[in-house]
């Protein structure tokens, strides 16, 4: 009985890794599509989003099956419930990556794009997603906590990008529509950062048994 349970737990672990990796792919593709204006990459990101949805359903099924059939307790229960929470965050990351990919069809970065910190923001967010998935894979508590710290940095970058966009629109009113689209992209990135933080918090919960938000 225990053997079968362990086997299923391992499968859950593998499927979560796969789902995390899909999220990384999606957000990288979306960011790349944004920074390079590559339509094909935007398609990839949207394609990945569908795979992520599929993966979410599979993991959810597996979790429910584990909960109902094995009635786990203590650490096992924590791990499965954390997994259930994590997949909804991962799924949101996938959705927002797809949203960014959609927007890149209409958005062109300004020529002096180095003046805009949206690239830095995208890179920070990708790093956060990678680290949160890594912290889960390696059960690395320190890494999970560092992800939570990195979120402040992303928030600061968001404010900076917002100000830069305001300046751009003030200088050239014709840039208004593009500017707003870019602001949306920045907001989506900021949200992805939040979800990555959530994932990291659930990782911390599954390791220590205490959710960092103090519940």
């Amino acid at each position: 009985m225990r053997n079968r349970f362990d086997e299923q737990l391992k499968r859950l672990h593998v499927e979560l890794i796969q789902m995390g990796a899909l999220c990384e792919d999606a957000i990288s593709a979306a960011a790349e599509a944004l920074l390079k204006g590559d339509e094909a990459l935007a398609e990839t990101a949207i394609e990945k989003e569908r795979e992520i949805d599929q993966a979410e359903r599979e993991v959810e099924n597996l979790c429910l099956k584990l909960l109902l059939q094995q009635q786990p307790v203590a650490r096992d229960l924590r791990e499965i419930s954390a997994a259930l929470k994590m997949i909804s965050d991962l799924e949101r990351i996938g959705d927002q990556a797809a949203d960014i990919a959609e927007l890149t069809r209409y958005v062109r970065l300004p020529d002096d794009s180095h003046a805009l910190h949206i690239g830095d923001m995208a890179r920070s967010v990708i790093r956060m997603v990678t680290d949160s998935v890594d912290s889960f894979v390696k059960r690395d508590l320190a890494l999970a906590r560092s992800v939570c710290g990195a979120d402040d940095q992303v928030d600061a970058l968001f404010r900076q990008v917002k100000e830069e966009l305001i300046a751009l629109i003030a200088a050239d009113a014709a840039y208004g529509e593009q500017g707003l689209d870019l602001l949306m992209v920045a907001k989506y990135l900021e949200r992805i950062g939040d979800h990555a933080t959530n994932v990291a918090e659930w990782v911390e919960y599954s390791i220590t048994g205490a959710h960092p938000s103090g519940q």
Binding site: E7, K10, R11, H13, V14, I17, Q18, G20, A21, E24, D25, V133, V137, K138
Partner: protein, 550 residues
């Protein structure tokens, strides 16, 4: 086993006990009846005697109370009975014992009552007058006797059963003890003769298992030793992507620290898209090759099939940095060669066209012809250098290894370079003494020539070149110092590349292959090239040859 033995002994003991009791009972019963009959016969004889001597009056006198006395006439009519009125009794001639007595003189019979709980023993004796005297005594039947004797018998049986229980336990323990005492790892045949074949088989199988385990361990160690020494990363995974086996190279190439936990998924080691595709495809039964994102690693995944189904996969991770670099170098070389060959040819072609169209004054023809000759010479030099290099690439010329004196070689080379040095007003000095080294004379000369040629060609006007030859314990060494422009730090590795020039303007002439020839030649001879340079002050190239063998 102990329980079985115990049960068997107990069953046997109880069976013996019970059957013993039953047999004794049966025997005793028959014996009692015989005794009773005999006693009856005796009593009958007494009473008969009394009756014959005293007549009927005897019967009314003292008769035994527990017996029933009946006197029957010869015709069967009951004359007297001690319990009932003879008038009411039927004719007794038909009774077995009476009939026997009438016929034979005496007779006996046993009759059971209806309930079987009583039986009556009869004895009849014929008197002298022909009448028959019969005595009857009632006896309890066997069952009733048994029932009456039950209490002591039960006690005996109980005691005996307890004894049997205790003995059975003891005996069975005794029997089993030696079997329990057998050491399964090192069995000896001391216990029971019957167990000898079993123990023998056990011992031989133990031996075989131990040998097989040792074999397996050795094989595993061999496998581990082989895979550990591979520079390629090797991973074996099962259908669930769990890592079954891996080597350190795999961890290094995937950038994983520390050992992999048992049952860890391979995707926990690397989850890059290409890697995942490889794993997925291999587990779906297809071979797959991918270049990982940074282009430095190639992953080859092959499915492992067992009974027609995919049981897992083998992943090979190759470090292709060197290969990629070599590939890049080769592409660069091809491009460079084409370019270097084209430049002089274009010059020759242009000059020849001008001459052909008669646009040149006859007096200028020698000048143009000189151009053509110079460019052609450059081409020949270039082609020669390329040929030399490709020979070195293929493993060097087939010439014999000899002992070459570096000092003599340097002398010869400097002699050849004297005109060029004089043109640039470069002072050339040669110091040191004889330094024998082992090598192919042609290659040694190429190395020294190219170093000295560069030292002169890239020197400033009026500079100097110092060649120092020495023979140390380390081996022969030649150092060539110049007072040229020097080589910037970042270019120090690259100067040995083909067609690389510090001065991109090609002003110095030369093919750009000289130092490449030095490097390859030195590598071929096992020598070491070192470069020390200070931009603006000059450079020193030092070639150290391996010591000459005894």
């Amino acid at each position: 086993m102990k329980r079985q033995i115990f049960r068997a002994i107990l069953t046997v003991a109880l069976a013996v006990l019970l059957s013993g009791v039953a047999l004794i009972m049966g025997v005793l019963c028959g014996y009692f009846q015989d005794r009773m009959t005999a006693e009856l016969a005796k009593s009958t004889a007494y009473i008969a005697h009394g009756l014959e001597t005293q007549g009927r009056a005897y019967l009314t006198g003292g008769l035994p109370r527990d017996s029933r006395v009946t006197w029957v006439a010869a015709d069967g009519t009951v004359l007297f009975d001690s319990r009932e009125d003879p008038a009411g009794m039927e004719n007794h001639a038909g009774r077995e014992e009476i009939r026997d007595a009438l016929l034979l003189g005496h007779g006996a019979a046993v009759r059971h009552s209806d309930t079987l709980s009583q039986k009556t023993v009869y004895y009849a004796l014929r008197l002298e007058d022909g009448s028959v005297l019969r005595l009857a005594e009632t006896q309890y039947s066997l069952w009733l006797l048994l029932l009456q004797a039950m209490q002591p018998v039960a006690l005996v049986v109980l005691l005996a059963a307890c004894l049997a229980l205790w003995l059975a336990g003891r005996v069975s323990r005794r029997l089993v003890e030696p079997i329990n005492a057998i050491d399964l790892d090192e069995p000896d045949s001391a216990a029971y003769e019957e167990l000898a074949p079993l123990v023998g088989r056990l011992r031989s199988q133990n031996l075989r298992i131990r040998r097989q385990v040792a074999d397996l361990r050795r094989q595993r160690e061999e496998f581990a030793a082989i895979t550990e020494n591979m520079s390629e990363g090797l991973l074996v995974i099962d259908r669930e992507t769990q890592v079954l086996s891996y080597n350190t190279a795999a961890l290094r190439l995937l950038g994983v620290e520390g050992p992999v936990e048992a049952g860890e998924s391979v995707l926990a080691l690397d989850r890059e898209a290409g890697f995942r595709r490889c794993v997925e495809e291999a587990l779906a039964g297809r071979r797959r090759e991918e270049l990982l994102g940074d282009l430095c690693r190639r992953v080859l995944a092959s499915p492992v099939e067992q009974d027609g189904a995919v049981a897992g996969a083998v992943l090979l991770v190759l470090d292709v940095t060197e290969r990629e670099q070599r590939e890049a170098l080769r592409r660069e070389f091809t491009a460079n060669v084409s370019h270097e060959l084209k430049t002089p040819l274009t010059a020759i072609l242009g000059t020849a066209e001008i001459l052909e169209n008669g646009l040149v004054k006859p007096g200028d023809i020698p000048h143009f012809a000189g151009n053509i000759r110079r460019e052609a010479q450059r081409l020949i030099g270039l082609v020669n250098d390329i040929i030399k290099l490709s020979r070195l690439d293929e493993g060097g010329p087939t010439a014999q290894w000899e002992t070459v004196d570096l000092y003599r070689t340097a002398e010869d080379v400097l002699e050849q370079l004297r005109p060029a040095a004089e043109r640039k007003q470069v002072t050339v000095t040669l110091e040191g003494g004889a330094a024998p080294v082992r090598g192919v004379p042609q290659i040694v000369e190429e190395i020294v020539y190219n170093l000295c040629d560069n030292a002169v060609a890239y020197n400033r006007i009026g500079g100097s070149v110092a060649v120092t030859v020495s023979a140390g314990t380390e081996g022969g060494r030649i150092a060539v110092s110049d007072t040229g422009t020097g080589i910037p730090r970042e270019a120090r590795e690259r100067v040995f590349e083909r067609f690389y020039r510090v001065d991109k303007s090609h002003s110095g002439g030369g093919t750009g292959l000289g130092l490449s020839i030095v490097k390859h030649g030195a590598a071929y001879l096992g020598a070491r090239v070192e470069l020390d340079s200070e931009p603006g002050r000059g450079s020193t190239f030092t070639v150290t040859f391996p010591p000459v063998g005894p």
